[in-house]
């Protein structure tokens, strides 16, 4: 600020204003910023993204460099969002592994289910988290209406009761930033959510998710199926990253996770193969019944001469050094994702079990819905922090997310037991479902259709 006489006053610690402030520069916060940057109705607005870390460098994702252990199964719907945001080519030019098929099976019975879409249509792409974060970051810096501050920590958030006042964030360096809308994309322990006082339901699964990068060997030399086996401690999933490397997500008890993390590599590989192949928990009565039912089912293509090909997961041969990490698993959902001058997206609003790989996909859907609603608000001259508009985001996002979250929660509970009655029920259910082509296709399209 320039005063008469030419004195320059430092703007430091002064309060500044942005129309919207996004707290959190992760996969969802960055996607939100890119969406608003491209939003035609938002070109005259100012948006600030606050990131506690630094943006990952894209050069660490060149072919041949080791894979990062945090990966995400990106649904076709999310790929469409990436295309709209203009980051898909960038991501693909580094590495994104196309998965054509998802195969789910049970450690307690021979029941199984496989998901495939039409030829050349992917079920998902497996992509490293930081590659997505970095690509989105690079994109958002192209937009004039988006400002970014990296390596800043938010000290305090304040959200007003009515539109009469602004929301603000106070940074650790004392800077205060006022805004019409505070967007919380700051993860499970969201500071924005705490400041909002929104009701939040949460519980822990008493499970930890162990991730690692593993080398695998397949009979065909191809690795384009994602595998998931339900065991009584939790599901084990192998997500392809290349023809010889997969990302592991192994949900198990906290003690087991701790033990597995510290095992020598070769022992870890043995235990992992055993979790994928062991027949110890198989229930013979259920299996005989399934066998009989399959023979009777005229709709099942394999009824006469079952195809063994493609029903056996790859063998794990090695685990990448220092790639093992674990974190607690839990469920959480804010009863409302919004209040005056505040919206929550991604893990800040909801958290779920990783077994279906849906968590961050829901976050991107949040960002897409919120972006549309904010565009409407801007175009109609409204205050973008107004609940009249934000509530539209809340109801659309809750309606989209809750069925997925509840189903995944139920699945996790259903498969954590070897009680014969439940094993039988889930096995017959899954098996029947797998043989009902039209019903299955409907579900696949619901989950992955290009919307």
């Amino acid at each position: 600020m320039k005063l008469p006489g030419g004195t320059i006053i430092s703007m430091r610690n002064a309060s500044s204003y942005y129309d919207a402030v996004i707290v959190g520069g992760g996969m969802v916060g960055n996607a939100m910023a890119c969406a608003l940057g491209a939003n035609k109705s938002f070109q005259s607005k100012s948006v600030l993204l606050l990131d506690a870390g630094r943006s990952p460098s894209l050069s660490s994702f060149e072919q041949g460099t080791p894979f990062n252990n945090r990966v995400v199964a990106t649904s076709p719907t999310s790929i469409d969002i990436f295309k709209q945001l203009g980051v898909w080519e960038q991501i693909k030019s580094h590495r994104a592994k196309k998965v054509n098929r998802l195969f789910v099976f049970d450690s307690c019975s021979t029941s199984e289910i496989e998901f495939e879409r039409g030829q050349n249509e992917e079920v998902a792409y497996i992509i490293e988290n930081d590659l997505i974060v970095g690509s989105l970051f690079e994109k958002m810096t192209e937009y004039k209406n988006i400002d970014v501050k990296t390596s800043v920590k938010v000290d305090e958030c304040s959200i007003p009761n009515s539109l009469e006042h602004l929301a603000y964030v106070k940074l650790e360096n004392g800077d205060v930033i006022e805004t019409s809308l505070l967007i919380g994309a700051d993860g499970v322990n969201s500071k924005v959510r705490h400041a909002s006082d929104l009701n939040y339901t949460t519980f822990n699964y008493n499970q930890h998710g162990l991730v690692a990068i593993v080398e695998i060997q397949t009979a065909s030399g191809k690795n384009d199926t994602a595998w998931q086996r339900f065991t009584t401690l939790g599901p084990v999933a192998l997500l392809p990253l290349s023809d010889t490397v997969s990302g592991l997500t192994w949900s198990t008890s906290p003690e087991e996770a701790q033990r597995l993390k510290q095992l020598p590599s070769d022992q870890f590989v043995d235990e992992l193969n055993s979790a994928l192949f062991s027949q110890d928990d198989q229930n013979q009565f259920v299996n005989q019944a399934i066998f009989a039912l399959n023979r009777l089912n005229p709709f099942r293509p394999e009824t006469f001469g079952r195809k063994a090909e493609g029903t056996i997961p790859p063998h794990v041969i090695n685990v990448q050094d220092k790639s093992r990490a674990s974190f607690p698993l839990g469920f959480g959902n804010a009863h409302s994702y919004i209040t005056t001058r505040c919206a929550l997206i991604g893990d800040a609003a909801h958290r779920m079990h990783p077994l279906a790989g849906q968590g961050v996909n829901l976050g991107w859907s949040d960002a897409q819905i919120l972006n549309k609603v904010l565009g409407d608000a801007a175009r109609e001259g409204a205050d973008i922090g107004s609940i009249t508009y934000l509530s539209e985001f809340d109801s659309a996002a809750q309606k989209h997310n809750l069925p997925v979250m509840v189903s995944v929660d139920l699945l996790n509970r259903l498969y954590r037991t070897d009680a014969p009655a439940i094993v039988a029920a889930r096995s017959f259910g899954l098996n029947a479902f797998n043989s009902l082509g039209p019903v299955k296709n409907y579900l696949i399209n619901y989950l992955s259709a290009h919307r």
């Binding site: 204003y17 129309d19 005259s44 009761n161 009515s162 539109l163 009469e164 602004l166 006022e178 019409s180 005056t340 175009r379 109609e380 001259g381 409204a382 205050d383 107004s386 609940i387 009249t388 508009y389 509530s391 109801s395």
Partner: protein, 273 residues
């Protein structure tokens, strides 16, 4: 079932309409204004910014009336930025979005405290930084007095009277004054409530006597205006009605939709000849 729905709609409407109407004040000279309303709603002036308070349905009504006004004004030849007058602007609930959409807006209202609240909102940072405050002003006056000023006669590219005509004491004078403000070819946007048996049942009997959502006597059903009457008065004032369309409030979800029936709430678009 339909009756029930309409009833709900009316109840909500009734609740919101009153505040909007605080148009007339003793301080302002003789006019079409009903002075009792002013005091009633002066008390609500602090609530204008509260989206969940007394005005929540007016906040949500913006979702259809703002695009309606913006799209229709953009169709015609106009100055840049287009000059618009919002008669009965209250706390600026409609004037501010219109100014943010690019109009130069003058809001007039007869309730001093509402105008004060509106002026306070002009100091808000978002409006100042974006320059919206510079093309937006509020005045405490009556429309009759306002339209007598030389600079205002035929001085506006668009005239808005939203949720106001059903509260004025003299409909002819009021509409005449609105027409005075519009330059030839300029659109007039009016939203109000019809005078039907449905509205008597719901807005008056149900809302005031049964559910006691509003104090008895706050609404005068006889003063509600039918689309035919409003069209006739507009015609007499030198305007042609271009379109009449019903609007409906959905209390569950607090939103509005355009409907064909004008039994309850409706909107009229007219053009000054």
């Amino acid at each position: 079932m339909l009756n029930t729905l309409n009833g709900l709609k009316y109840i909500r409407l009734t609740k919101i309409r009153c505040p909007q109407k605080r148009c007339q004040s003793n301080a302002v000279s003789a006019s079409s204004i009903d002075s009792d309303e002013v005091e009633k709603f002066g008390k609500l002036s602090s609530e204008w910014a509260d989206e969940l308070g007394s005005f929540h349905a007016l906040h949500s009504l913006n979702r259809i009336r703002v695009p309606w006004i913006v799209e229709n004004v953009n169709k015609i030849k106009r100055t840049n930025p287009p000059r618009l007058v919002d008669v009965g602007s209250g706390g600026g609930l409609l004037s501010i979005p219109l100014a943010k959409c690019g109009f130069d807006v003058t809001g007039i209202d007869a309730t001093q405290r509402a105008v004060e609240a509106a002026n306070r909102s002009l100091e808000a940072k978002p409006l100042n930084l974006s320059g919206v405050s510079e093309r937006l002003r509020f005045q405490h006056t009556s429309v009759e007095e306002f339209c007598q000023r030389a600079e205002n006669k035929s001085g506006y590219d668009a005239v808005v009277g939203s949720e106001i005509v059903e509260h004025v004491a003299d409909l002819n004078r009021f509409v005449n004054s609105l027409a005075e403000l519009a330059r030839p070819g300029a659109p007039l946007f009016i939203t109000t409530i019809n005078r039907t048996m449905m509205s008597k049942l719901t807005a008056i009997w149900l809302a005031e006597n049964v559910m006691k959502i509003v104090p008895a006597g706050v609404h005068n059903w006889e003063k509600f205006v039918t689309p035919e009457e409003l069209s006739a008065v507009l015609f007499d004032s030198g305007c042609s009605v271009v379109a009449t369309q019903g609007i409906m409030y959905h209390p569950v979800g607090n939103h509005w939709t355009w409907i064909n029936s004008t039994q309850c709430n409706y909107a009229i678009l007219a053009v000054k000849n």
